[in-house]
């Protein structure tokens, strides 16, 4: 069995809640899910890098908000937002997210219109 170490990180409360539900449904632990996803990310990144293909890195940079959609599409040589969306889903990377506080203020703005 591989050596394991403990480390400290932070995760969104709601995301952890959802992960716990998936873990329970899958008869496994959040720790096992985390390891599997992290392994997928690391191995996909390393395999792409080893073959000289920067596409995964570009998608990861987009997911983390380090490059915008137009830069990402230009680097990937794709032409539209749908292709970018599909590549992100296939790469198992989340689309970039605004902070929860920003999303909440937009929700509040919509609620004020619905009154």
């Amino acid at each position: 069995m591989a050596d394991t170490v403990n480390f400290t990180g932070a995760v969104e409360r709601e995301l952890l809640k959802r992960a716990k539900i998936i873990a329970a449904k899958s008869d496994t632990s959040v720790n096992a899910l985390f390891n599997a996803e992290l392994r997928y990310l690391v191995e996909t990144f390393e395999a792409a890098e080893a073959s000289g293909n920067q596409n995964f890195k570009t998608l990861l940079d987009f997911s983390l908000g380090r490059v915008d959609d137009q830069q990402a599409m230009a680097t990937l040589g794709i032409d539209g937002p749908e292709d970018l969306f599909l590549l992100m889903t296939q790469a198992h990377l989340p689309m970039p997210r605004l902070p929860d506080s920003t999303t909440q203020s937009m929700v509040d703005s919509l609620r004020s219109l619905a009154k």
Binding site: R18, G52, N53, Q54, N55, F62, G65, D68, D69, Q70, T75, L76, G77, I78, D79, G80, P81, E82, D83, F85, L86, L87, M88, T89, Q90, H92, M95, P96, R97, L98, T102, T103, Q104, M106, V107, S109, L110, R111, L113, A114, K115
Partner: protein
């Protein structure tokens, strides 16, 4: 004080793509606000055959969604492609949206316009937002619908879109670009 102005919802391309993958385009009608689509945005969504292009085109037609004409799109149609080079499209969707925001702001009375974007477009695009316009993300819109009791689960819609995107296997990772 209650604002009795008309509220119009204008989705960008990204939100319609996400909702189309989730088979949930009709959620945009839940608040009961008229939905319009900018011509350049519709063009971007339907110019190529994609997994969602037909569904979106049919949805626009079936629901008689008004298409907002813009000078940007008119200009784009007039400028011919140069040789084998495709016509410039980058940012034209955003230019057309900005133009629409400006036009609606000049109407008297001006309607309240809710523009729907994906998170990354809100983070990037620097629209000059008139007082009557709001920029809202797809996620915020779905959460709003859930809180109003018009949608069972916002997370389910997002999850469904991702799941259906993953199941679509036609698109492959492009080769390294630019070619070495």
């Amino acid at each position: 004080m209650r604002d009795d102005r008309t509220i119009i919802l204008l989705p960008d391309a990204g939100p319609l793509i996400t909702l189309a993958y989730a088979h949930a385009l009709d959620v945009v009608f839940k608040p009961g606000w008229p939905v319009h689509i900018v011509d350049m945005v519709l063009y971007e969504l339907t110019r190529h055959q994609t997994p969602t292009s037909k569904a979106i085109a049919e949805w626009v037609e079936r629901n008689s969604i008004p298409v907002v004409p813009t000078k940007t799109f008119k200009h784009f149609q007039r400028v011919p492609a140069a040789g084998n080079e495709p016509r410039r499209k980058a940012n034209l969707g955003e230019l057309a949206i900005q133009e629409t925001m400006n036009e609606f702001a000049l109407n008297d009375p001006s309607p309240i316009c809710v523009f729907l974007f994906e998170d990354h477009k809100i983070a990037r695009a620097s629209f000059l937002l008139p007082d009557n316009c709001r920029k809202v993300s797809t996620r915020a819109f779905l959460i709003f619908l859930e809180q109003q009791g018009w949608l069972a689960s916002a997370a389910d819609v997002e999850r469904q879109a991702i799941q259906n995107g993953r199941n679509f296997s036609q698109l492959r990772f492009p080769p390294s670009f630019p070619p070495s």
